[in-house]
Symmetry: C2
Subunit: 200 residues, 2 copies
DNA sequence: GCGTATCTGGAACTTTTTTCTAGAAAACCG
DNA sequence: CGGTTTTCTAGAAAAAAGTTCCAGATACGC
């Protein structure tokens, strides 16, 4: 009668996938414990067993989406050699991810500074640092070799992630005047210019 | 016995001020209707009469904070002539506002894409466009005069607001490795480089 | 098989938001 | 002024969302 329920670890996985679907289709305001358990055919007890709280589920989903984004960026950078191509690869990978995984990108941007994560902020932040390590490592190498201007590491990150995230937000919010394809063509070079050492 | 209650319009004003204080001291999770009404010595009925919903209050507060930020930026730009000094003035004004009105800046960044505004998104967005008009107008003039690179207007905005907002977020989140004073010295020039026309 | 640990279901409870309505204060107007 | 209308306030009650709890089911090691 009841469809075969996945159990154990699979249930947690299943809940995360369902949660993202619910978020994508019902939006922030339709994103409730009841909506997620109903959509997934899973009980409240299971959800709370695996995630402790609804915020816990949201934090896990956030972490999962973030992992995928940063993995995509790290992969892209790995195929480059110079600072210029590396930075531009990061930018393109972020924008490509935003386009190809719209739901995940939307959830990331909407949740980023948005209460869900308050209780798990520390965990999420350290997970972020871990996943970001390959990228920050590369940036440090560029700096050591003098391939980018001598700036504090956090400013270099700000100059890359700031514009890219803003572009993603504009695309995701459906701004009529924002063309993601054009951004993918123009932004990498512009961001690079903000980082290039003098006389380049 | 009961302290003299402000009435009418004044109550709405009073609630907004109280709300920001409550948000600043109790954080996102302590930011509830009851907390705000209790702290302000105002009843639920009054709050709902003036703002329709708790989200309505949050949207009004958001708009008010945003107005102040953009006014500060517009004032700063008004005192400049060239594209370079104008852009740099915007950047500095944003960062200065973040420092001087920490509570308002925190609320702005935390609420920006965060559910509170979903119901009033349209109003908030059009209010934003209005307040942004003096700034976008300036940027268009720069572009027409060839003082900045020929880029779509939304990309110019992205290249300015992206890094500045990211810097503000890092400062507000208390990142140990982020130094706002250093950012105020270095960012304006770096952002300018991303916008400068060729051969500058 | 047996015992233990893990997982699931759903009713009951808590907290937070929203609605509702009676009535007080202000504004308006002849 | 005196009456009428509108605006505003108060707080109880309802609705909605999140959380707790525990009885029972399932998987797993021995």
């Amino acid at each position: 009668m009841t469809p075969k329920q996945p159990r154990g670890e699979a249930t947690a996985e299943h809940l995360l996938t369902t949660a993202l679907k619910v978020y994508a289709s019902a939006g922030q305001q339709g994103f409730t414990v009841n909506a997620v358990t109903a959509a997934g055919g899973v009980s409240l007890g299971s959800l709370y067993h695996h995630f402790g709280s609804f915020d816990g589920l949201a934090a896990a989903l956030y972490t999962r989406c973030m992992d995928r984004l940063f993995d995509a960026m790290a992969d892209a950078v790995r195929r480059t050699r110079t600072a210029r191509t590396g930075v531009q690869a990061m930018v393109r990978a972020y924008l490509r991810f935003t386009e190809e995984h719209r739901d995940a990108a939307l959830f990331l941007h909407a949740s980023a500074y948005s209460g869900y994560l308050a209780a798990h902020a520390a965990q999420v932040h350290s997970a972020k640092l871990d996943k970001l390590a390959p990228l920050t490592g590369r940036l440090r190498e560029y700096a050591e070799r003098g391939e980018i201007a001598p700036l504090p590491a956090s400013l270099v990150e700000t100059l890359i992630m700031g514009p890219v995230a803003e572009a993603a937000r504009r695309h995701l919010s459906g701004a009529h005047d924002f063309d993601l394809d054009r951004a993918m063509r123009l932004l990498p070079e512009r961001i690079w210019r903000s980082l290039a050492p003098d006389g380049t």
